[in-house]
Amino acid sequence: MTVSTTERQVVFPDRPAGRWQQIRWTWENALIVTRREVTDSLRDWRIMTPIFIMTLVFPALSQFGANLMLNFVTQYGAELVGERTIPFLLMIVGFFPVSLSLVIALETFVGEKERRSLEPLLSTPLTNLELYIGKTLAAMIPPLLASYAGMAIYLTSLLFGELAWRPQLMLIIQIILLTTAQALIMITGAVVVSSQTTSTRAANLLSSFIIVPMSLLVILESIVMFSAPDADSPNGILALWAILVGLLIGTALFIRIGTRIFNREELLASSLDVLNLRWIGGTFWRHFRGAEKPGPVAWYRTEVLPAVRQLGKPVIVILIATLAAGLLGWAAGTYSAFRLPPDMAMSSEELSSNFNNLFELGAHPGSVLLAVWQNSRVLLAGTIMGAVSFGVMAVVLEILPFGILGWVLSQFAALGLDPALFFAAVIPHSLVEIPAIFLATAASLRLGAVITRQPEEGRTVGEMWLIAAADLAKIGLGLVLPLLVIAALIEVFITPAVVRMVLGAS
């Protein structure tokens, strides 16, 4: 027996000091985990059977479907529909195996937790980051390889088969990149879900928050591929590039959350399985109301204003995004493809006449309510969308009108219209409305992004989210709503007068 000697047989090595050596060490450790997990997945028939079917059977089915459809639509002279279906099916052939990565990711994390094999792994010298990278790669490699294999089979059959399809190379590259990005976002999202649940059942239920938006995205991508005006461009479809960028941003956010919350403590202790409405309601209300029964002035002073002070960084982000959107709108308007068609362009007289017709309708108190309602519901929609998209969609929704305004201004310039009219129609109520919109969007962004940050000591992610929600409610009711009312009053009663003044002057 040579197991035990007073002198230890093995000495655990120190981590290397150099930066690159450390990075190498981290990857080596991560790949040890990846190799084990991938081997384990390859031995699991529940994973391998669907991968095998989707890799081999689906491309054949798609190829058969593409042939059938092309032949059918050609009879009616609609070859375009058939041609656009082929790349769409390529994307689908790639997407199905990739969707399995979600199952593997859930199995890799929460399955291991459930089988109690996680703790021995957590007791090893592997760092949280090494475990995160190792497991994420392990969840991604088999389905992604299957996806590439499936797409290769499908492409080969199209390129060298009966159809002899000759697609734009860039479109194929876009589809491959989109498939990879979809796998990335699903897995990084699944890691977040897995690390916050204690059972595969709960993880599977929560994974619908990933698979449903992804399915919607695939539908959107298919619409884009069918209807994009630049579908035959050698540079690929612009909208698909935009979606790719969006997916990569989403992935980066998920990775940020994942690396923040993927720690040993959370993995062993956390549970989202219990829905405690009383606690949720109590926490929200406590942070919304603040101190014991404060008066309105004290509430503004001790609750609303401190909540506004938390919005420094989000406001800066929104300012930059808004400026960028405005400039982008302006720049787009200078391209001939996005210019107002000549038959839709108006002269100064026509524009004045339109404004005058509008003013003849008169200023009604009902219009004030309508303006408040319109702005409120848009901001509410932004808040809801932001809450499920780390705040990104709240910002997107907020900057869209500014992009349009930039574009409109560029059209004013292109048509030689007086920009004073534009500013007169926008600025008076915007002086109040824009701060309100910025405040609401910043609070929504904070609410969405709060889960990407390390919770404060002694608080959970859920608690941090509820505090941000309470802050949003305070700002919404205490500041944004009153400002929107004032802005609507200005828009209905003052802005028309200013426009009239400018029209009169011109």
Partner: protein
């Protein structure tokens, strides 16, 4: 950290929300000794072990394992500790060799050393014949032994074992106990949490009893026994019936039980009083057959401590 101390905890505390799972635990374990940690389910033993392996971050307090701080040097701590977790949690689709190979790589063992240690340990625990079998086919006891092999694979100076023999037959349990004693002899340091009090008594140099997150007793068995059960109990056996001698003995010691030719008594200082008693009896022509201490069982001590509600007693 004092020289020779491998495990040191100072006021180690863990809160989960408002629940205090471990409350200001302080202890020291010297190199080459075994500390048995006893306590009811949910007392905080596993949480303490998890903090000592840097899996859980202490809410307050500090701990050093093999010279490394559990909060600031978690990787080094985990590299120098072998852990047997409460649930062995093996990868059931893997073979034993693959399993050990995986953990060996994680601990950066070179392949030659890894194979040698894996073979030696598997042989030590009677698993040589099962090296090439999938772990899903292992019995509960075999799995437990393999988990121990995993914990010992990188030859750690500190081993934290949670219920090391819980699923084992008596023969296997003895194998494990022997291995622990052997490694202790070679200056490896152990914390063993167990509900098996006999095992704790056999293995442990010192015993910590933990209740509601706090260490309520810490010391050698003899120290705990004296503190929580009372002064030592002696049994005297003589050749002839005692007759009136019991009354005489009662004036010297606290007699607790008597028989025809034996008597049990408690005595504060046996090293002084017992020779007097023997001299007294011999002088009276009574032949003393045996005079020996009666050991209280650890169970008696444990139950006295856990049920007794003694707030804190550290001999």
């Amino acid at each position: 950290m004092e020289p020779g101390v491998m495990i040191e905890a100072h006021e180690l505390t863990k809160m989960f929300g408002t629940f205090c799972a471990v409350d200001r635990v302080s202890l020291q374990v010297a190199a080459g000794t075994v500390l048995a940690m006893l306590g009811p389910n949910g007392a905080g033993k596993t949480t303490t072990v998890r903090m000592m392996t840097s899996i859980l971050r202490p809410t307050s307090g500090r701990a050093r394992i093999a010279g490394y701080d559990v909060t600031t040097n978690p990787v080094e701590v985990r590299g120098h500790v072998g852990v047997l977790t409460e649930q062995h949690g093996l990868y059931e689709r893997m073979k034993a060799l693959e399993y050990l190979d995986f953990f060996g790589r994680v601990y950066r063992l070179d392949q030659r050393m890894l194979r040698r240690r894996a073979a030696d340990l598997m042989e030590r625990f009677g698993l040589s014949d099962a090296l090439d079998r999938r772990l899903g086919e292992y019995s509960k006891g075999m799995k437990q032994k393999l988990a121990l092999v995993r914990a010992m694979l990188h030859d750690p100076p500190v081993l934290l074992l949670d219920e090391p023999t819980s699923a084992m037959d008596p023969q296997s349990a003895k194998l494990v106990r022997d291995a622990i004693l052997e490694l202790r002899h070679d200056h490896r340091t152990f914390i063993v949490t167990t509900h098996n009090l006999t095992e704790a008594q056999i293995l442990a140099d010192r015993i910590a009893i933990i209740r509601q997150g706090r260490i309520v007793a810490l010391g050698t068995f003899e120290e705990l026994s004296r503190t929580f059960v009372g002064v030592p109990l002696m049994e005297l056996r003589v050749r002839a019936p005692l007759n009136g001698l019991t009354a005489q003995l009662s004036s010297m010691v606290q007699v607790t039980e008597t028989g025809e030719n034996w008597v049990r008594y408690r005595v504060e200082e046996p090293e002084l009083t017992n020779p007097q008693i023997v001299r007294h009896l011999t002088a009276q022509g009574v032949d003393v057959v045996t005079l020996s201490p009666l050991q209280e069982s650890l169970e008696t001590v444990y139950l006295r401590i856990v049920e007794g509600g003694d707030e804190e007693a550290r001999p």
